[in-house]
């Protein structure tokens, strides 16, 4: 395997690291677990650090501290160096880049801000969630903050704060474990009446295809709320998600329609 001098566009980054394959070959000569092996591997990692830092920079400005990103990318690099098999014939850079990117992406997934909510708030959110559904059953409508405070024997202000905070923490919602949006059971029978319901709308000819183009679940909650006059709590029960999630689906659906109706 000689240096791929004639390779086109991919060779820029590869040729920057043209000496790396030889370093890996030297590593392969050494017995695993020895001090020399370790030292040679460290040398490769050090040699390739610019690659990790370069990838970290590409994810800059997405709300994660720069230092953390560099750290995570470097972990990805170490993993790539450990896993790379020089005899498999592939180029180290094209092997390492997806590995490092994968590590950075995992970091974003696991550490997005919404997960870093204080435990106290999460617990409060859960208590409010279950008290809300209990009270909704009992009252036949959604409860107020005062009713929740009384039910939970809590300070009213604390309940208000918890409710307000909860509504801005997306991933805290009780149904967040429920996977994608479109795997909900379709409520086909409720959608049959859209045509008659649409009669009250003036520009229904324009609206109809837009409704049809909405994702299944968004269309369902939209129709139930605006054409069947169900409350958000009733829809939540019917569709099997939290009221907060119904609210988000409605907001999203209205936003889409708004953009397209203009």
């Amino acid at each position: 395997m000689s240096a791929p001098a004639s390779r086109g566009s991919t060779s820029r980054s590869s040729s920057e690291y043209a000496d790396v394959p030889d370093m890996f070959r030297a590593l392969a000569e050494l017995a695993e677990g020895t001090a020399q092996f370790q030292r040679q591997r460290d040398r490769i990692v050090e040699r390739c650090l610019p690659l990790a830092d370069h990838i970290a920079r590409r994810f800059d400005g997405r709300g994660e501290p720069r230092d953390d990103l560099v750290q995570v990318a470097r972990v990805g690099l170490v993993n790539a160096v450990i896993r790379f098999d020089v005899n498999a014939g592939s180029d180290f850079v094209s092997f390492a880049v997806p590995t490092i990117m994968g590590e950075v992406r995992r970091h974003f997934r696991d550490n997005s801000w919404s997960v870093k909510v204080p435990r106290r708030l999460k617990e409060l959110h859960l208590r409010l969630g279950s008290a809300t559904s209990e009270l909704s059953q009992r009252l036949g409508r959604a409860p107020t903050a005062s009713e929740l405070a009384k039910e939970l024997d809590m300070d009213r202000d604390e309940v208000v704060e918890g409710l307000v905070a909860g509504s801005s923490y997306n991933t805290l919602s009780i149904d967040s474990g429920g996977g994608g949006d479109d795997d909900a059971p379709a409520i086909a029978d409720t959608l049959g009446d859209v045509d008659t319901a649409l009669d009250q709308i003036e520009n229904r000819e324009a609206l109809r295809p837009l409704l049809d183009s909405l994702p299944e679940r968004e269309r369902t909650v939209l129709v139930l709320r605006f054409f069947e006059s169900m409350t958000q709590t009733q829809i939540a029960e019917r569709v099997g998600v939290s009221q907060m999630h119904v609210s988000r689906l409605l907001a999203r659906a209205l936003g889409r329609l708004r953009d397209q109706l203009e």
Binding site: V160, L163, E202, F226, Q232, M244
Partner: protein
């Protein structure tokens, strides 16, 4: 009545009323929704009404923002009354199709709140232009008070 006067009037009428002014830009709607959600929750609307009002204010503000210029000001006045919560949103605009009765937007707003009113005032003294606004009323649940 001008924007400012209506706010003065609301404040004079009700010491609990809250007013918010932001640039008439869509990116300000997140904070507007949060404020409305917090106020409506603290005012003891039931949680469905709170969620509906957030959607309604979002819809009304979007209509207004789209009919004005980015340097215009969007004014929200939340006026808690004994048996209802009234939210007035307004801005300066010369558009005459802010919200057409019978349109989908109108249907959405009337589904989400108990009463929807359009209001329009003459040019302000400063010559900023005519004020248009949407007034949303949500009634409190009867058993709460």
């Amino acid at each position: 009545m001008s924007n400012a006067e209506s706010a003065e009037y609301a404040r004079a009428r009700n010491p609990r009323s809250v007013e918010m002014r932001v640039s008439a830009r869509l990116e300000n709607l997140a904070v507007v929704r949060t404020l409305i959600g917090a106020l409506a929750t603290a005012e003891d609307l039931d949680l469905d009404a709170v969620a509906d009002l957030r959607l309604a204010v979002d819809e009304a503000c979007t209509r207004l923002i789209r009919s004005t210029t980015p340097d215009a000001t969007l004014v929200l006045v939340v006026d808690p009354r004994v048996d209802e919560l009234v939210v007035d949103v307004s801005t300066t605009s010369t558009a005459d199709d802010i919200l057409t009765p019978g349109s989908f937007s109108w249907h959405v707003l009337t589904s989400l709140t108990d009463d929807v009113r359009l209001f329009r005032d003459g040019a302000e003294l400063g010559g900023v232009g005519p004020v248009v606004g949407i007034s949303l009323t949500t009634r409190r649940v009867s058993s709460a008070r």
